[in-house]
Symmetry: none
Subunit: 226 residues, 2 copies
DNA sequence: CTGCTTATTAATAATTTGTTAATATTGACA
DNA sequence: TGTCAATATTAACAAATTATTAATAAGCAG
């Protein structure tokens, strides 16, 4: 779950398509906002300032092109990435879309993998996804770019879940994360694993970094402490 | 702006349009070359090998489609990005353009912001190819111009995909590239190949350079590490 | 067209990672 | 200090991911 803070606004008048995209993007950990027409989209965009808006072209109330234009008008929203949804042979729509400042277009029918990979490619361009600086805590350095943890300059590699768990705990040293926090942020909202799973992962981290770096707060959760 | 070394060839028979585009692109720091018909374009392309050519479709002497075809014929110019300029409703031209290997089309009337952002997007697609002509890492030298890798001064030749993959990984040594990163940057955002394809290419690279240069981060991706 | 190289897939093996279940241990609190 | 729920530990098992191989397809030079 590394997309936690990225907001995407989906705009389409067909609930099925909205739901389909919502499902796929939530699965990737994005925060998903929904609108069913251009007017609503502009309103939500202004309020929430998402990083990316995916706009259907053909919609009642206000079409995608117009919505895009309105969004681009606003100085604060200028930088938002906008991708249009287009039927495959709507050549004209594509042109119009780029003219009002679209960053990409995604053609229907939408395939989940293509959707997510296009989105990632788009987001990569922006500053939101710049390299994450390594975090230094005591004699330890957590480097998200290389997925390595250095202990006294010794690199130690961690499997994904362990890394994400450690990464979460170290994101706020000293702060206690409840088991619920941990479950929802490392395992996602649809919790399917048992409580012991956390313990086991904690133990594996302790095996590698020493017993003292992660403290247990009985009845509450865990915290990372120098 | 580090566009100083990027050459763009503009081809159009209308001096006004040439001048307009030249002005806007120079402002961004690109090196701008001009041609007023297809024949001239091919000639200059061969001599100067720009990174990008923006071609009007309708021109005297030799039209854009034909010029594009001639340019694509030549092995050395194959990699050049080509974008067509089209009038708003020249639907057919667009299709023809993509057939002869165009990378994008830009519709008239041209707006500065769109022009430059499209160009940036286009160049970004291949930017990791041209950032640095040769990179030295450990006992290895990767020469992006000749598609050769030297290991202790022994030249080893790599097929295109393998080279691009290696090139991507070495562009940021130590940094983990996710499979999605790799797919979208080596294969393009419309992903059409399966996951195993990456593995196979990785394996072939390892066969040539040794097993240890590329490390697997299970669940995440790969990284190049000295 | 032919033969060669490169790219991709499919099938299967190997490996790593994730989870659970069973049992032991801990520590807050009556 | 004894109790008991919460956490730790361990090992076994399941799931997921990657490696490998060989076969097939696609490109390309001669």
């Amino acid at each position: 779950m590394t997309n936690e803070s990225i907001k995407i606004l989906l705009v389409d008048d067909e609930p099925d398509i909205l739901e389909f995209m919502e499902y796929n993007l939530k699965k990737e950990g994005y925060i998903v906002l929904l609108a069913k027409n251009g007017a609503e989209a502009v309103e939500i965009a202004k309020r929430e300032v998402p990083q990316l808006i995916i706009l259907d072209i053909m919609m009642p109330e206000m079409d995608g092109i117009e919505a895009c234009r309105r969004i681009r008008e606003s100085k604060e929203l200028e930088h938002i990435l906008i991708a249009f949804l287009t039927a495959r042979n709507e050549e004209y729509s594509q042109l119009a879309g780029f003219d009002v400042g679209a960053d990409d277009y995604i053609s229907k029918p939408i395939k989940p993998r293509i959707l997510t990979s296009r989105i990632k490619a788009l987001l990569r361009r922006t500053s939101f996804n710049q390299e994450t600086p390594a975090v230094q805590i005591g004699n330890m350095r957590i480097d998200r770019d290389s997925y390595l943890v250095y202990k006294n300059d010794e690199p130690i590699s961690f499997p994904r879940k362990e890394f994400e768990l450690l990464s979460l705990l170290t994101s706020k040293p000293g702060r206690v994360f409840t088991r619920e926090d941990i479950l929802s942020r490392v395992w996602g909202s649809e919790i399917v694993v048992g409580d012991r799973t956390i313990d086991v992962h904690i133990r594996k981290i302790r095996e590698k970094l020493g017993d003292d770096v992660i403290k247990t707060i009985k009845g509450i959760g865990y915290k990372f402490d120098i």
